[in-house]
Symmetry: C2
Subunit: 157 residues, 2 copies
């Protein structure tokens, strides 16, 4: 079992990198058919005449794939429980054949006054393709328990 | 064919409502297995002992379902092309059996100086369950062409 990360392991400036996952045209169309059925996400031919000039993945597909990479790269104790995301951006479209990885940096970390043993950590998470282009940037806020709280909880279990 | 919405149709204060989509436990587990494989999204029993006290959908599943509802309720001319999202929040978890709908309000609308015939519209989109609880709130920014630009483009096609 992988050691889990606690608040203590996440000072400002800490960087986590991880990946990869490769996306096919079929993956893009399958996600779009279910969640974002627009011509530029569904059909190569129809996509040519649009803003994207070719098949492009839904931004929410990029977000979902990024979450997958975060679960692998950032195993926070108790699970990844978010207090929301700020500034979600898709600077470049997701394309068929793209291989994605993430780069996460802690940009703020503070203990909660309202809840003993719990911290809130703010990350900048950039999702990059194989050409080092950012396909997504976001600033999620995640809860992270202190090591002392995790140890106490294990002792009490 | 549904009439498409232009910038002209989206003054501040305009409200769009739509839905619904119902989510099963299997839907929640299938999405999680692919994109967010954590115990509280994958297994009822394992979820009991977690923060969520029962099976809960990934926040990104809620986002993807919301996008589906937006494509139905907000048919903007040229497609829904986003310039990112601010303040994505999940005030309540997505639960098995939930039926979701959305309420969208235009909170800002401006023509772009950098691109003739194109506007940028800022919405507050709230995703509600059958108990009128918000399962997601977000502020997306979407491009919307003016009616004049759409007419000119159709005339030139």
């Amino acid at each position: 079992m992988t050691a889990k990360l606690c608040f203590d392991d996440l000072p400002v400036g800490t960087i986590f990198e991880g990946g990869n996952v490769t996306v096919s045209a079929d993956d893009i169309k399958r996600f779009a058919a279910q969640f974002d059925p627009q011509p530029f996400h569904l059909d190569e031919k129809a996509a040519e005449a649009t803003f994207f000039k070719g098949l492009a993945g839904s931004g929410w597909h990029t977000s979902a794939l990024t979450m997958r990479l975060i679960t692998e790269a950032l195993p926070i104790a108790g699970g990844l429980i978010g207090a929301g995301v700020d500034e979600l951006r898709w600077p470049n479209a997701l394309r068929p054949g793209d291989t994605l990885r993430i780069r996460s940096e802690v940009i703020e970390a503070r203990l909660l006054k309202s809840r003993a043993g719990m911290g809130l950590v703010r990350f900048r998470v950039t999702t990059l393709n194989q050409k080092d282009e950012a396909v997504q940037e976001m600033i999620p806020n995640l809860f992270a328990p202190t090591r002392a709280a995790v140890s106490a909880s294990l002792a009490g279990a």
